[in-house]
């Protein structure tokens, strides 16, 4: 009985999603091996070896895995799957892309986006944008699981696992990487930030995100998010979207500015520890989930909030 966790990383660094998915992998009760598939990814493998509760790290270092394209990476995981009872990955865009391909190649029905491990074959997962929670038992002999990282704590360090090199699998050669536009930012990532400030369509423009939201995010060391409406309107980039089909977050503090609170948005943030809502419509559904609500015009409130945060005695 061993579990294989697929690491999320950028070759140089291990991503926080791996630490969180490791907590879920450990909850299955079996020893955990971590697979780092990448190119020049030794540093990520070394970081994985230090995680508490990791028995062994497998490093598949080959150009084909540089961008973790689904076709070669799934082939690699399938080539290793024989030794494992469970294959686990965080529900990142890589995990969501690769794991169902692995599952189908193994004739396994995947359990997506688990929020709780009830027992080694039984899990809780949200359906209908989190408006219902299903408890499912996986009856396939092998389990393929993706983990909603917001639902699990990050595993700490303290391990000293061996790193073993594994051979690349044959690349199906049907896909190639052509380019990417990844935003570079000094801010924390949305899915691992302690504080998030999100804006809705009421912000009115991308410039207003910059003028009103950004200074507060800077002051709080917060990540910036957005509602689908704000992203669709072009006020914020698509990777900022919080919600059912965007990112699911659970920070210590979530500040929703000018967001009415459609169920699809609530699905992405209602597990935050403290929710603040700022909205001019006092009937907005967001106030039904907010711990602290402030009714008023965001263009007045946000500058006030910014200066209140500058003043330590406030």
């Amino acid at each position: 009985m061993t579990t294989l966790l697929i690491a999320e990383h950028d070759n140089a660094h291990l991503k926080d999603a791996t630490h969180k998915a490791l907590s879920a992998a450990k909850a299955l009760g079996a020893p955990v091996h971590v697979l780092v598939a990448g190119a020049n990814a030794r540093a990520a493998a070394e970081a994985a070896a230090k995680l508490d509760g990791v028995e062994k790290v497998l490093l598949a270092d080959a150009p084909a895995y540089e961008h973790m394209l689904a076709e070669p990476t799934a082939a690699l995981i399938v080539s290793l799957a024989g030794s494992y009872d469970a294959l686990v990955a965080p529900s990142t865009s890589n995990g969501k892309n690769i794991m169902p391909r692995v599952a189908a190649l193994l004739d396994v029905m995947q359990v997506s986006d688990i929020t709780k491990v009830v027992s080694p074959d039984t899990f809780e997962r949200p359906i209908y944008a989190g408006n219902a929670i299903q408890t499912v038992q996986a009856t396939d002999p092998k389990k393929v699981i993706t983990v909603r990282t917001a639902a699990f704590p990050a595993a700490g360090e303290g391990g000293l696992a061996a790193i073993e090199n594994v051979n690349a699998a044959a690349d199906p050669q049907v896909s190639s990487f052509k380019g990417e536009e990844i935003a570079k930012s000094d801010r924390p990532e949305l899915t691992s930030a302690r504080i998030i400030i999100s804006g809705g369509r009421s912000l009115g423009s991308a410039e207003n995100f910059k003028t009103y939201i950004e200074p507060i995010a800077d002051k709080l060391g917060a990540a910036m998010g957005a509602s689908r409406a704000a992203v669709d309107a072009g006020y914020a980039p698509n990777d900022w979207q919080v919600g059912q089909t965007g990112k699911v977050v659970a920070p210590d503090l979530y500040i929703a500015v000018g967001i009415s609170g459609a169920i699809q948005h609530l699905a992405g943030m209602k597990d935050s520890k403290v929710i603040v809502a700022i909205n001019k419509d006092e009937e907005a559904p967001i106030f039904q989930v907010a711990d602290y609500g402030l009714v008023g015009d965001l263009f007045t409130i946000l500058p006030e909030l910014n200066s209140a945060l500058s003043n330590p005695s406030a």
Partner: protein
């Protein structure tokens, strides 16, 4: 180029669902049903490819009860040419859906399959990837932009942190994300025309697919509720409460 789109009949995205008190599932009786929104985007993309002269024929497939035929009619009204209903009253899991679609694809031989990235009922986000795996085809998931060329397609994908573009050999599977396009509303004349378009029927059995579930649903429950908190009167009160009461600043 022949394009196949799959469309699922789901509870309308505006409906606030209710969990049955006995924990046996979600109440589906007398609830408004619609085409899965991501599938509307898939149909729209296929229709645009046809309008650009890149696609020659669009086949819309749905798997579900008789009423799923209405979902196919919606796709036909948007511009698909033919429909195929794989009729079953069973709840079909993504792996079985992928196997059924593989069977359909063996008959239809499309060059490109466009599907929604996830259905908004079970939120699995699996079927496209699984279908690609079973066919040995490449996959362009969470598509933001699709550019069909000669024997290949470039798909720009919404990924964590931004966008990624992959080149795929055809035939390929594309799954749609929200920003790929804005689906059209079917016009009344097109809705009338759609009634005359061919809609065939088959079944999982006829395609040789066992749809027995692999996941046993033990229970369906309401999520832990969250109570509305307090309204504060001013920014100063908010900041003070966040510092002293909530302890998050």
């Amino acid at each position: 180029m022949k394009v196949l789109v799959s469309v699922k009949r789901v509870v309308d995205f505006n409906v606030k669902i209710r969990v049955r008190p006995d924990g046996s599932g979600v109440e589906l009786a007398n609830v408004k049903m619609s085409m899965n929104p991501f599938d509307e985007i898939a149909v729209e993309e296929a229709v645009r490819l046809k309008e650009q002269g890149k696609a020659t024929e669009i086949v819309a497939v749905s798997i579900g009860p008789q009423q799923a035929g209405e979902t196919i009619r919606t796709a036909l009204a948007m511009g698909a040419d033919r429909g195929l209903l794989v009729k079953t009253d069973a709840a079909v899991e993504p792996l079985a859906v992928a196997k059924i679609l593989k069977g359909v694809i063996a008959q239809e031989q499309p060059d490109l399959v466009i599907m929604g990235k996830q259905a908004i009922d079970d939120d699995s986000n699996q079927t496209g990837q699984m279908l690609a795996a079973l066919l040995g085809w490449p996959q362009g998931t969470f598509a933001f932009k699709v550019n069909v060329g000669e024997g290949a397609v470039d798909v720009t994908r919404e990924v964590d942190g931004g966008l990624q573009t992959v080149g795929l050999k055809l035939p390929a599977i594309v799954t749609t994300d929200l920003r790929l396009n804005e689906p059209r509303y079917a016009s009344l004349p097109n809705i009338m025309k759609a009634k005359k378009k061919p809609l065939d029927e088959t079944s999982p059995e006829a395609l040789g697919v066992d749809v027995a579930p692999r996941l046993k649903v033990l229970k369906t429950a309401e999520p832990g509720g969250r109570k509305a908190g307090v309204k504060v009167a001013s920014v100063a009160e908010l900041v003070s409460k966040l510092k002293t009461e909530a302890g998050v600043l």
